[in-house]
Symmetry: C2
Subunit: 364 residues, 2 copies
Amino acid sequence: MTSFTPLIDSLPSTVPFVGPETILRRSGIPLRARIGANESVFGPSPKAIAAMQEAALESWKYGDPEVHDLRAAIARHHGIGIENVTVGEGIDGLFGLAVRLFVEPGVTVANSFGAYPTYNFHVAGFGGNLVTTPYVNDHEDPSSLLDLAKRENARLIYFANPDNPMGTCWKAGVVQDLIDNIPAGALLMLDEAYHDFAEGSVPALDMANPNVLRFRTFSKAYGMAGVRVGYALGHPRLISAFDKIRNHFGVNRMGQAGAIAALADQAYLKSVQQRVARAREKIYAIAQFNGFGCVPSSTNFVAVDCGRDGVYARKILEGLATHGIFVRMPGVAPLNRCIRISVGNDENLAALEEALPLVVKAAG
Amino acid sequence: MTSFTPLIDSLPSTVPFVGPETILRRSGIPLRARIGANESVFGPSPKAIAAMQEAALESWKYGDPEVHDLRAAIARHHGIGIENVTVGEGIDGLFGLAVRLFVEPGVTVANSFGAYPTYNFHVAGFGGNLVTTPYVNDHEDPSSLLDLAKRENARLIYFANPDNPMGTCWKAGVVQDLIDNIPAGALLMLDEAYHDFAEGSVPALDMANPNVLRFRTFSKAYGMAGVRVGYALGHPRLISAFDKIRNHFGVNRMGQAGAIAALADQAYLKSVQQRVARAREKIYAIAQFNGFGCVPSSTNFVAVDCGRDGVYARKILEGLATHGIFVRMPGVAPLNRCIRISVGNDENLAALEEALPLVVKAAG
């Protein structure tokens, strides 16, 4: 039999990515609330939907491999150059490419313990050596992350602002300090997937800085998770490197058209932001009513603090699943005292409100 | 500045993938015939379009990361198990992953000189050592490919049947012989993107053979190039390895729904096959009228033999471009005496018929 590379052989065969469809197939319990993956139940702009439906008629054509029009629209939106923008198959796809640019066996990557697992999946996938520092007060901790990166001679630093899975956020000034203190030879991958929910969290886009790559997505506030469009912003030296390895025809045609339309409809984005803020308050209230705390959120989800350990939080999560309510939870202590509830529509949250007291009671 | 890996530094910065949109942007000449990328102008099944338009309404949801329902439909269609199927972002995306499973610097890959360049792009991208053997009579040559693989101790062998860019094809028995003679330790990547156009070219699907991976796509006969859905078939040992590295949420929701609907509409596929066969005859006739030969095609494109060298063929290609006719051509001699014309609709071929005599005359 043909040998895989030693790196491939070393990777775990377990699949960490369990979707709600899989849970449904296993349990047979119909979903009443799909509020576990930080998707936006409010959906994309109707104009984006219309653009995708129209593009479906032309879907026999490959999408533009340069993704020119969408990149130009993104560049205009941010007041930067098209050479500062690359588009990929969601942020996850871009993380795979970005990690591949810098990581080979022996290269160290610094991250927060418990931060976005898909990033770490890619670091492992290219043989990187992951080192971590704990969250502090449910925040990723910029100063200890910098210390760690310096001490361990990390080539990459991952930092999400706002954070996932805890939903916490630093002000722009703190992130700017982090940027200003990146150790020599290191690059910061700044994941801003949720920045649309967190006013004041975004430091200026400095495209002359060759040591920062910033990642954005249409999956969250723009409500297009199933469409698969994310982008990275940075110095042309960084952005052009993606062209050496990316799947040039990989961004689907409907996604390119839909993202252009979504970006043009900022009024819709604003309405989503308002609806998310209201739904967050409702989740806070439901949690409080059940004796749970909440980590104040700057995202479209809330880390609900179940007040004990990970075993108990998992009991709550599994209890909710029996009521057709799909939520997720952080993977490691102490974050895993929480369950992570994405904002839902009124129906979803009514289902949560109804089920949670029963689940808490049953959990004892 | 942060160091890329030495492998990334070694890769060329030039982008080999120039789409018709780029050509249009550069030339300003409106496209009259987009017949260069072997897309299907006949489009997807109307049922697939409807399914994608419907799925756009739910595009706030990530696609199923297991792509369960589409994999199950593919498995049923082929009479194999779901564990024999993985789905990715087009064949190109799957080639990237498949190559990554086996190739690291020092690993040798055997291919035909002038075969599908995107595959070689991925081999280079993971540091593989590409060795090639020439086409014989415009066919990829199984026996010299086997000799080469054996001599060079290749870990991977790429073989496309039917072939791209020449459109030639071997009967199933010849391919079965190739499979039966794969050297110990090697794996055959059998690209069957165009098999729907070539009856009698497909050897039986033997999913117990751990040394063959077969690649199929919805981009060609199913007319969904812009949707980005391809799949690989093989032994579970091979298929499950993709899960270690693939972008689990990468296959967009509309694509999953559209591909299921497309697969279910075999009557539409049949009608496309008939229209492609008719259009091919028309291209043969146009070529002949202009004094050009044709390589008999088993695909949805025709390699038109311009009868001289690559410089002359490029002159013809560039001449056609000035008339808004987008075609491509093979990259290396002696294949590049040809231009590659994809099947078009009546309008497209009328434009070709009108322009080609002028272009030939101007080329001298």
